[in-house]
Symmetry: C2
Subunit: 388 residues, 2 copies
């Protein structure tokens, strides 16, 4: 590793805690700056980023020692998931002397869904109605106040619908509370179902040099998994601006240094509720690789390295991103992709995972165009035949 504080110097190395596609796409940008990449994974099998560097370590996300040893071989660390608790991150930073961005203290304000909602509420940002559930009475009371069904969520962990359960009545609520660990002392929160017209997302890059906010995009979800992203979101520009404002406000509320993503519900009355946040590159921002002047991954690297942030302007009037979810349980292989590759300004990304299974995020496809509806429709047609 480098002896210099200049990230653009020989042997400067950034370490990723986590080895999935988000680390992978961030690493591609680190390489572009001549920066070396280390990766720490908690899985024994081959992870995609491990094929991209000779500096790969395996250990436990619960072990400060494991991660501190890894950290000592890097100049700076960053995250690609929310699986490590902030107190462990803080201890890794203290023990190794290697800075972690986003900081453990930023992370502590959002790692727990309850604290996250309080943090943003305190910053004046409207959030989905919620309550901490501590008893069966709380379960009943929340349903009576906000209506059935509603959502129960474990306050730590959980993504893409994991760790969440929808409950239709008090009996289901009691069962889910138990399933999610509520009776074992885990913090469980209830969240009201919001009657929304659109799910929106905004990415924000921020560091000591400034803040850059990406356009407001729409995320399209099926079975709690993002299947497509459209940018700019097909909603009133005032609503787009408001979502961008709230996203910047949220990033300031946690004094964020890095790249952050925020998901909003847009209600029929035009109001926005912050639903979720992520202190890392996010699926909703993959379209920025070709769709924006500076991708979320490049601004992730710039932010973490303390470099000036790049322009977030779109490269085309309309951008559609389609997630390529596993269609088969088999060794990974992409078939029937030729039309998608032939399309002008269509861009294929494959994550290099060795095994495919139905619903697993295996890659994505971004299409740039002049009209959002037409671009989304075309991207859908080009990717529909793909088996992966």
């Amino acid at each position: 590793m480098s002896e210099s504080n200049n990230p653009l110097s020989a042997n400067f190395r950034i370490g990723f805690l986590g080895a999935g596609q988000l680390a992978r796409m961030s690493a591609l940008q680190a390489f572009r700056y001549g920066i070396q990449v280390g990766v720490f994974s908690d899985r024994p099998e081959n992870e995609p980023v491990q094929f991209m560097t000779p500096y790969s370590s395996t250990g436990s996300f619960d072990s400060v020692d494991d991660m501190a040893v890894f950290a000592a071989k890097t100049n700076v660390l960053t995250l690609e998931n929310e699986f490590i608790s902030s107190d462990i991150l803080q201890a890794v930073q203290d023990q190794s002397g290697v800075p972690i961005w986003p900081s453990p203290s930023s992370f502590s304000l959002i790692e727990n869904k309850l604290v996250e909602k309080q943090t943003f509420e305190n910053a004046g940002i409207p959030v989905t109605p919620y309550a901490l559930i501590e008893s069966e009475e709380d379960l009943q009371a929340f349903g009576e106040r906000h209506g059935w069904p509603y959502l129960l969520k474990s306050s730590k962990g959980g993504y893409d619908g994991y760790g969440n359960e929808t409950v239709d009545n008090a009996e289901e609520a009691r069962q889910s509370f138990k399933n999610l660990g509520g009776t074992d002392g885990h913090d469980i929160i209830a969240e009201a179902f919001v009657d929304f017209t659109h799910e929106l997302a905004v990415q924000v890059a921020r560091n000591e040099t400034g803040t850059q906010v990406y356009p407001c995009c729409q995320t399209v979800q099926q079975d709690h998994i993002c299947v497509a992203v459209l940018s700019p979101a097909p909603v009133d520009p005032e609503i787009q601006n408001k979502a961008q404002q709230l996203a910047v406000q949220a990033t300031e509320a946690i004094d964020g240094k890095g790249i952050f993503a925020y998901e909003f519900f847009l209600k029929k009355d035009g109001s926005l509720l912050l639903n979720e946040s992520a202190p890392r590159p996010h699926n909703s921002g993959h379209y920025t690789i070709e769709g924006a002047v500076t991708s979320q991954f490049e601004n992730h690297m710039r932010a973490v390295l303390g470099l000036p942030l790049g322009s977030t302007s779109l490269r085309a009037p309309a951008v559609a991103m389609i997630n390529l979810l596993g269609t088969d349980r088999r060794d990974a292989q992409v078939d029937f992709v030729l039309n998608a590759l032939e399309a002008s300004d269509g861009h294929l990304h494959v994550y290099g995972k060795l095994d495919s299974r139905p619903g697993r995020k295996m890659g994505h496809y971004t299409l740039l165009g002049d009209n959002l509806d037409a671009t989304y429709e075309k991207a859908g047609k080009l990717t529909a035949p793909i088996r992966i």
Copy 2:
């Protein structure tokens, strides 16, 4: 490595013979397709691409065995330089059973400057006046016919002015002929100085699915090293088209599969002479990473993998690329780069070399804009303070 012929399948691996910045930028595109990267280098020290993969081998470019052992761990091989002779490449391919693209037979038609000129001349492409030099009389005769000074070149190897000497008179010619190995039996060719107004370049991607040709760009040279590239070239569109036609014709003449670059002299009378060719990504095409819809590196990968080729359209009316040549002899480090990073649609690439020395290609900077003169001027101002 993959058992499948589908390049988009688990563990598919492309091997690079050579480990410099061209392999590096190509590898970034292979990774984007989920493809693994192997690299074979003839240098013991750390090469930039060796930081980007766990699959790195060292050996001799003269050893069929060394390269065949490496090849056996890959699904397909490609080149990033012209340092390996076509008969050795053919033997590596035969011994390993792993295909090499561009093919050894394509390569055999251009690896030797004499054969290269004959190949293209036979295909009806005008080339710089030249002659094989076999004697002192030939040296004198060439000067009398084409004027002094002229160039002497060793017919194999040589790039960026290495292996070339300018000779002003018969005495210098005799000395250079000896310096270049002519008296030791190396083939030496003489090349007339061409009175040109512009040096132009065109990249062509070609494989079994079709051909894509990039815009005609201008290369700006100082001391035989490319310092800047401007695209599209500021010359009559008819001349641009002609250069593109000749480049495609040249690629067909060698039945090229891969990415190829051609450098032309534009004479005052508007005619073009083919000066040099390269069967690989080329410095003149680095601007395509952000400047074109599909970069030369992505089309390199697509061509070699047998995938459909992508659009070569420009993303902006004007693109300027500035080579960042080493300014100091020191551990590599980029200083005074903040203005360049802050500029909207300015894109920094650093090659990850550990040591800098004056004139060494350490990185490049690409700026997109609306007007070629203004964009070139701005890119020059943004990069002038950089020390690297």
